[in-house]
């Protein structure tokens, strides 16, 4: 089988699962696809997904277990499609190749097209970042005096950067003088200009 969304050899059960989808009537299929895309857009909501599948199974006289494993097969398609940046056309071709009938494949790929932008951003957002800057806090003030000099009047700026290291965060504290602050601002503006060249 030549598929766009994956180069792997799929087990036979996957084909069977897609053919079983054809048995659903239009209304049932639409609802099931709605549940699927809801999950794709909020991938952390696994409990809700399982619960909705359970309810669906109950409403339509199906067993929950087989329905869940059917959905696992179905999920392979959009997940692979995201990795490979597939178009709606390509996804439709793949679904038909897998055994889904034309109408259902067309509906699925139309939903894919509608949600593609949101799903892409999600996938890009999951790309690994090293030492990602999570937050920045600052305060600035005036040094009024020190143990060496009774009266001073220097402006200082203190920054706290919160950096993600693995599963935890690390705080980095630093102090800048005014000239250093202006230099920092200038360099960040140059970095932004450089990034904008690429979009």
């Amino acid at each position: 089988m030549q598929l766009h969304f994956t180069k792997d050899v799929l087990s036979d059960s996957v084909s069977t699962d897609f053919q079983n989808l054809n048995k659903l009537n239009e209304q049932q299929f639409l609802r099931l696809i709605e549940i699927l895309f809801q999950f794709l857009l909020e991938p952390k909501e696994t409990e809700r997904f399982m619960q909705q599948l359970g309810e669906f199974a109950g409403e339509h006289g199906m067993s929950a277990g087989p329905l869940r494993s059917l959905m696992k097969s179905v999920l392979l398609v959009p997940q692979g499609a995201l990795k490979k940046n597939l178009t709606s056309e390509q996804i439709k071709e793949d679904l038909v190749t897998l055994g889904l009938n034309q109408d259902k494949a067309a509906h699925f790929s139309q939903q894919w097209g509608e949600h593609y932008a949101a799903l892409s951003s999600l996938a890009v957002g999951q790309t690994l970042m090293v030492n990602q800057l999570v937050d920045m806090e600052w305060k600035f003030g005036v040094t009024v005096g020190t143990s060496e000099v009774q009266k001073v009047g220097n402006i200082f700026l203190q920054l706290k950067l919160v950096v993600r290291k693995g599963n935890s965060t690390e705080n980095v504290y630093m102090e800048l003088t005014l000239p250093q602050f202006y230099n920092f601002l200038h360099e960040m503006e140059r970095a932004k200009a450089s990034m904008e060249c690429f979009s």
Binding site: A123, Q126, T143, E148, L161, Y173, M174, M195, S199
Partner: protein, 195 residues
């Protein structure tokens, strides 16, 4: 009203009358500002031909006087001359005052750059990369920014390094947010500066 310096310090300062030259006086004054040191006491004792114990007291007294001038920011000759007791040798008093006035600006700058603070930002480097693929999306074209901040800790923990560097990665959105924040700081600073 600046506090006074006790007269025993000035008794010690009169030992400088034994100095061979004005430059010798200048040297001792400048070096004692940093802090007491055995080596300085020894060289001073040799230069002035006085016992080491007395030289050490002299160095200590000079240190007290120069730091007093620095702390209270005594910038006019009159303010410094006022510290000396009336009985103090007149030319030596003028010489010491002149030396203290000459060095005060340098000492003030040094004191301010040496004060306790959080690690200071020493250097900033950045680089913009284009991410072309990842395990979640095999073909992509997303810019990302890496910033390396080099910091120097003015008072590192014992056995610790003064210089440290941290590299952070910023997405476009993070960089925009940072610039937003920095812009607000700049605006607040100009309000303060305008006052």
């Amino acid at each position: 009203m600046a506090a006074a310096v006790s007269s025993e310090h000035f008794d010690n300062l009169q030992l400088l009358l034994k100095a061979p030259s004005k430059d010798a006086v200048r040297d001792v004054c400048v070096q004692s500002h940093r802090g007491p040191s055995r080596r300085l006491a020894d060289t001073t004792a040799a230069t002035l031909s006085i016992p080491t114990a007395q030289a050490a007291q002299l160095v200590q007294s000079l240190h007290v006087v120069s730091h007093h001038v620095l702390f209270y920011n005594l910038v006019s000759p009159e303010q410094i001359l006022q510290l000396f007791p009336d009985s103090f040798h007149s030319s030596l008093k003028n010489l010491i005052t002149k030396i203290l006035l000459e060095n005060s600006p340098t000492w003030r700058t040094e004191a301010l750059s040496d004060q306790i603070s959080l690690p200071q930002l020493k250097d900033l480097d950045w680089r913009v990369d284009m991410v072309t693929g990842s395990d979640s999306v095999s073909r992509m074209s997303v810019p990302t920014c890496l910033v390396q901040l080099t910091m120097e800790d003015p008072c590192p923990a014992a056995g610790g390094e003064a210089l440290s560097a941290v590299t952070v990665e910023l997405s476009r959105e993070s960089l925009d947010t940072i610039l937003d924040g920095l812009g607000r700081i700049r605006d607040q600073l100009s309000v303060v500066a305008g006052k």
